[in-house]
Structures are given as C-alpha cells and as structure tokens.
C-alpha cells in the first residue's frame, strides 16, 4: 500500500503538479483580464505560444535562458498594452461587448497563429533544458528543470497574489473592477489600469510559454490544447478569482494525472471538460466568486 503510494502515485502527482503550476500561470492571466475588463481573451493561448517562440528566437541569437525569462515578458507588455488600446477599446462601449471582445480576440488568435506558421514554420522546435540532470525526490527520480519550474511558478503565483491583494497598485485594480465609474471619479486612471492589466495578463501567458518551452515542444498550435485546460481551470475556479484559479488548477491537473493511471490518457481530457461542464451547470460562477468580492 505504502509502496504503491510512493512509486505509483507520488511521481504521477508530482508530474501533475508541475503541469498544474504552468496551467495556473496561464489561468491567472485569463482570470485577471476577465475579472477587471470582463473580456474573455481567446488569443491567450497564442500569447503563450508567442512567449515560447520569442524565447526560441532570442536563444538562437545567443541570449541566455535566464535573460529570456525577463526579456520575453517585457517584450510582450507593450504588445498587450497596444492590443487593449487599439483593438479592445474600440468595441468596449457596445452593449454586447462580452461577445464582441470574444470575437475580436478570436480573430487576433487566427492572425497570430498563422503568422507563427509563416515565421517559424509548422515543425516542432525543442529548445534544450537550461538545467540538466535529475534529483531524487520522495524516492523517485525527477528532472531538475521540472522542479525549478514548479518552484519558480509557485513563487510567481505568490507574487501576483501579493501584487493584487497587498499593494496599492492591486487595490487600484480591484477598485476599478468593483466600480468603474466610482473609481474614475475618485481620480483613478481607469483606462490606463485596463490596458496595463491586460498587458500583465499577456506577459504572464508569455512567461508560461518561456518556462514550458523546454518541457513541451514549441509549435504554432501549442496554445490550443493548453488554453482549453486553462479555460476549464478558470471556469471551475470562478471567472475573475485568483484563489479559484490556483485551487482549481491544482485540482484539475491532479484529477487528470491520477485518472490517467486508471483510464487511457486520451480520456483524461474529456474527464476534465466534464467536470467543467458540471460546474457550469450547477454553479456557473465557479468555486469562488470574482475579483470583485475579494
């Protein structure tokens, strides 16, 4: 019993956790953008891919991986800022802006994905892992780089939580999410906050791309599979909730990795979506409410 726990469950759960951290990073960006702007960013997966592709190109130019970790999010910030200002704000004042912004970001996703195919080609690229070797954890060997991704990701999630809930900047963001008119009349530059928050979400997706590029390969449609999981996490956790994204991210990836011990892995995706559909049916707001309640 104890042995099966150690040799079968522990590695599987650790594996799930390392995917979970990355998914949570993606989901955080999605959920912050939704919590503040009420925008479902369908192009989020493409920004994740952008992060991975940028890091591949920068590393080919001789930039070290560690510098990429800083540079790529910085490169994506202005892109996200410009997208919010130039595209999303154009349809933001319509009554059905939920649907229009969803459509708009969907169009952007189409353009981005095809651009990657033109620039980098359709073949998967696999950058080398910046940390080699493996170390023993709980009696099983585990690649060092995955351990790093988990630790760094957890730190990053904590930093985002600190930023949103414990700093003045976070208070401004939450105030703008809570009541746009009131915050604006109190002198908060709401439009700037919107654009910066969108940029932050996009940069987080890009960072997840940089982190995961050495684990999974880099290819133009890499955002697709991942975005589905991230969407499920955001919905189960509650659109706009950071705590929900973390809890649901861990829950769903654990469910996925443990269930794949018993059923074929191809069925674990449908299982996660089934959970998502069930949550949408019985508690459409997810496990936790939005950012507005925090």
């Amino acid at each position: 019993m104890l042995e099966s726990l150690q040799y079968i469950y522990a590695p599987q759960m650790l594996n799930g956790l390392s995917i979970g951290v990355a998914v949570i990073l993606m989901a955080l960006g999605l959920t912050i953008i939704f919590g503040l702007l009420d925008v479902i960013n369908m192009s989020h997966g493409e920004f994740y891919a952008a992060g991975a592709f940028f890091s591949v190109s920068l590393m080919a130019m001789g930039v070290s991986f560690w510098l990429c970790l800083v540079l790529v999010p910085l490169l994506l910030l202005p892109i996200g800022f410009a997208m919010e200002r130039l595209l999303i704000q154009k349809v933001f004042h319509y009554k059905d802006r939920h649907i229009l912004t969803l459509l708009l970001t969907f169009g952007v996703a189409m353009v981005l994905e095809d651009s990657y195919k033109i620039i980098w080609g359709s073949n998967p690229i696999k950058p080398p892992a910046p940390i080699s070797g493996a170390s023993e954890l709980l009696g099983v060997m585990f690649p060092n780089y995955r351990l790093f991704v988990m630790a760094f990701g957890a730190l990053l999630i904590f930093a985002v939580w600190l930023l949103i809930y414990k700093t003045q900047i976070g208070a401004i963001v939450r105030a703008a999410a809570f009541d746009k008119e009131m915050s604006s009349s109190l002198g908060i530059p709401v439009m700037l906050v919107y654009a910066l928050t969108f940029a932050l979400g996009v940069a987080l997706a890009g960072l997840a791309g940089v982190l995961l590029a050495p684990i999974y390969s880099v290819f133009p449609t890499m955002g697709h599979d991942f975005i589905l999981l991230a969407f499920s996490v955001v919905i189960v956790g509650g659109l706009g909730s950071i705590k929900g994204a973390v809890v649901a991210g861990i829950l769903l990836t654990q469910l996925q990795s443990i269930s794949s011990l018993y059923i074929s892995p191809v069925w674990s995706d449908p299982l996660v979506f089934t959970v998502m559909v069930l949550v949408l049916m019985f508690k459409p707001t997810g496990l936790y409410g939005g950012m507005k309640n925090g």
Binding site: V91, L100, L103, V108, M110, S185, V277, M281
Partner: protein, 376 residues
C-alpha cells in the same frame, strides 16, 4: 416605409438566388464540376452559419460549439447512407428527428447558463464530444469514415443517382433554402418576437409575463436541427466524414461567417459563407496561410462594422432614405422592446398587465441603478 434591414435582406436574397441560378446554368452547360461543388460547399457551411446566427443574432446566445451538431449530422448521415440505405429522404428525416432529440437534451445543460458562460459551455461540450469521437475506433477514430455510397433520390419517375454535381447543387439549394424559409416563418410568429425580446432584455420579458425558457429551448433545438441537416449534406458531397468536422476551427469559422455576412439577418451568413468559401479557394491557390487574411478581415469587421455586410447595405439604404427627406425611423431595428409592442397579441397582454399591476418598475430596469453616481 420598409425598414432598411428588411430591404438589405431582400437584396441579399435576390443576389444569392440569382447567382445560384447563374452558377447552375453555366455550370451544367459548360460541364463544370469544380465551381458547382464549391457552391454546394458554401451552401452547406452557410447552413451551419445560419444556425449560429439564429442563436447569436436573434436570441443573443453565442454558441462556440455548433460544429458538434454539424458533425453529429454528418456522422449520422454517413452511417445511414452506408449501413441502411443510400436514400436522401430517409437520411434527412432521421437526422432531423435525432438532432431534435439531441438538441432538446443538450438544451437542458446549455441553457442553464447565459452570456459568456453559455459560450464556454457549448465550447466545452463540443470539445468533449470531438475528443471522444476522435478516439472511438468504431467511428473510424482520427481517420473518420470513408466510402459513403452515391446518393439515391426517389422521384415519381423512378430513383435517380445524385452523383452529378449539378443535381446535388440543386438538392443542397433546396434543402438550405427550405431551412431558411422555416426560420423566416418562425420569425413572423409570436415566438419570433419573443426571441428578439430575449435578445434585447430577457428580464423585461419576464416583467410583462412571458417565460423566456420555452422560446429559448425551441430556438436551441431549431439551431441544432439546422446545423445537423446541413452537416448531413456533407458526406453526400464529399463521400467521407472526419472528426475535424467537430473541431473548434469549424465552429469558429461559422462565427466568423456570421459576423462577416451580418448578424441577425439569417441570410447574411449564407452570403458570408459564399464569400469566405470562394475567398479561401482563391487565396488557397496562392498560399496555405489564408487564416491570416481571414483573421485580419474579421478583426476589421468586428471593429468597424459589427453588423457585417448586411448592416453596411442597410446603412446605405437608411442614408438614402434620409437624403430624400423621409423622416422614417432610420436604422430602426425591431429588436428592442418595441418588437414586443409591435405584436398585437403581446400588446394586449401588456395592456392587461398594466391595468392590473401597481408595480412602478413594471418595465424593468428602465432606470439604471448607477444614475446617482454618474451625475457628478
């Protein structure tokens, strides 16, 4: 005075019908197969887009998983044609019945949510089913099903084979045309008024004593049937089905088609499909990267003309009317609560309620709660 949108719809109807006739005549005279098959494909995907428009443009529900029902229709039709009989009528009847049942069952799941959540739940459902079909070996798994036999159509003069592209083009035209006619008819009924009213304000509908659940369910089932019947035509044209038919790219393209042609017009999606399919085949001969162009066009349309081509035509008409000094309601759209008033039966109901009710908030959120904040 006819309202500009109705005029735009009429114009697009004439244009599409005219081009279909020209395509059929020149195609059969010149012995062409390529353009006739392309036209058929445009009609099939136009049918799918029409079902998206029924939900999005009329009822106000964005479905991101309509390919599920399209694929369902395609697989069922392929199975019937292969295993039971290559009869057109039988296939269409069975697909209609089965998809109505499916739509009715799914509506209980999907209609529990609205807005963004509805979009995501339809998206999730379609993904689950697509993955399951992709991994089911009895349905051909990732290869799909091939070898669908040539369609037979029963006529009073004996059954004919529909392997000629011209014949099948006419069949598709009739099928999609009758689906369109059915939806148009529904829009003239009180049910249609309810749909428009749900789109503009679902809560207000409840205030004047109408349930929104029933009409929404009918719309959902209708959309499912329209998508499935369009899908049923697919294996008849191509001779195979593949799980890609259920993938998100198909649902997504359908939404693009609707927005391009004109949301809420039902005929706009067909126009959009004709443009998009021909555009893809033209661009496709130059470069495989047609998505980038389509995506760009889509983004521009969402930003500058959210009502699509039909909206642009309607705008043109309303401008012409105002130039003539006509003081009719420019850009009037019978979608607001006015459409409730337009229907005499609903008007009677409203009058009745006005007499008996003393609630000052009868018409719902007429006064936004935040008005005090806005007056600085």
């Amino acid at each position: 005075m006819v309202n500009p949108q109705a005029k735009a719809i009429r114009l697009i109807e004439y244009f599409l019908f005219g081009s279909a006739v020209i395509l059929f005549l020149t195609g059969t005279l010149l012995g062409d197969t390529f353009y006739l098959r392309l036209g058929t494909e445009a009609l099939i995907f136009g049918g799918l887009a029409m079902s998206v428009d029924l939900l999005l443009g009329i009822v106000g529900l964005l479905s991101l998983g309509q390919a599920l029902y399209f694929g369902f229709g395609a697989y069922l039709s392929a199975l019937i044609l292969k295993e039971i009989s290559p009869s057109f009528a039988l296939t269409i009847v069975l697909v209609t019945l089965a998809s109505a049942l499916l739509g009715w069952v799914v509506s209980f799941i999907a209609l529990r949510s609205k807005g963004v959540y509805f979009a995501l739940i339809t998206f999730g459902l379609a993904q689950v089913v697509a993955k399951v079909v992709y991994n089911t070996s009895s349905l051909g798994a990732s290869d799909g099903m091939m070898g669908v036999p040539i369609l037979k159509i029963w006529t009073p003069l004996g059954s004919i084979d529909a392997d000629h592209p011209g014949t099948f083009f006419i069949i598709s035209l009739l099928t999609i045309g009758s689906l369109y006619a059915v939806l148009r008819y529904f829009l003239t009924t009180p049910m249609g008024s309810c749909w428009h009213a749900i789109q503009s304000n679902e809560n207000r509908l409840a205030y004047i004593g109408f349930k929104s659940k029933g009409p929404k369910q009918v719309a959902f089932v209708l959309a499912t049937v329209v998508a499935a019947v369009s899908g049923a035509l697919y294996p008849m044209l191509r001779g195979f089905v593949s799980p890609e038919l259920m993938f998100f790219s198909v649902s997504g393209t359908a939404v693009v088609t609707v927005v391009l042609g004109g949301v809420g017009t039902l005929i706009g999606p067909i126009l959009g499909s004709v443009l998009l399919v021909s555009f893809k085949s033209i661009i496709g001969t130059w470069t495989p990267h047609h998505h980038i162009v389509i995506g760009l066009i889509f983004v521009v349309i969402v930003i500058s003309a959210p009502k699509g081509l039909a909206g642009l035509i309607a705008k043109h008409y309303s401008k012409r009317q105002s130039h003539r000094g006509d003081k009719s309601w420019a850009y009037f759209r019978p979608s607001s609560c006015v459409s409730i008033l337009a229907d005499s039966q609903l008007l009677k109901m409203l009058a009745l309620r006005l007499k008996t009710s003393e609630s000052p908030q009868l018409l719902g959120q007429m006064v936004p709660a935040k008005v005090p904040y806005l007056i600085y």
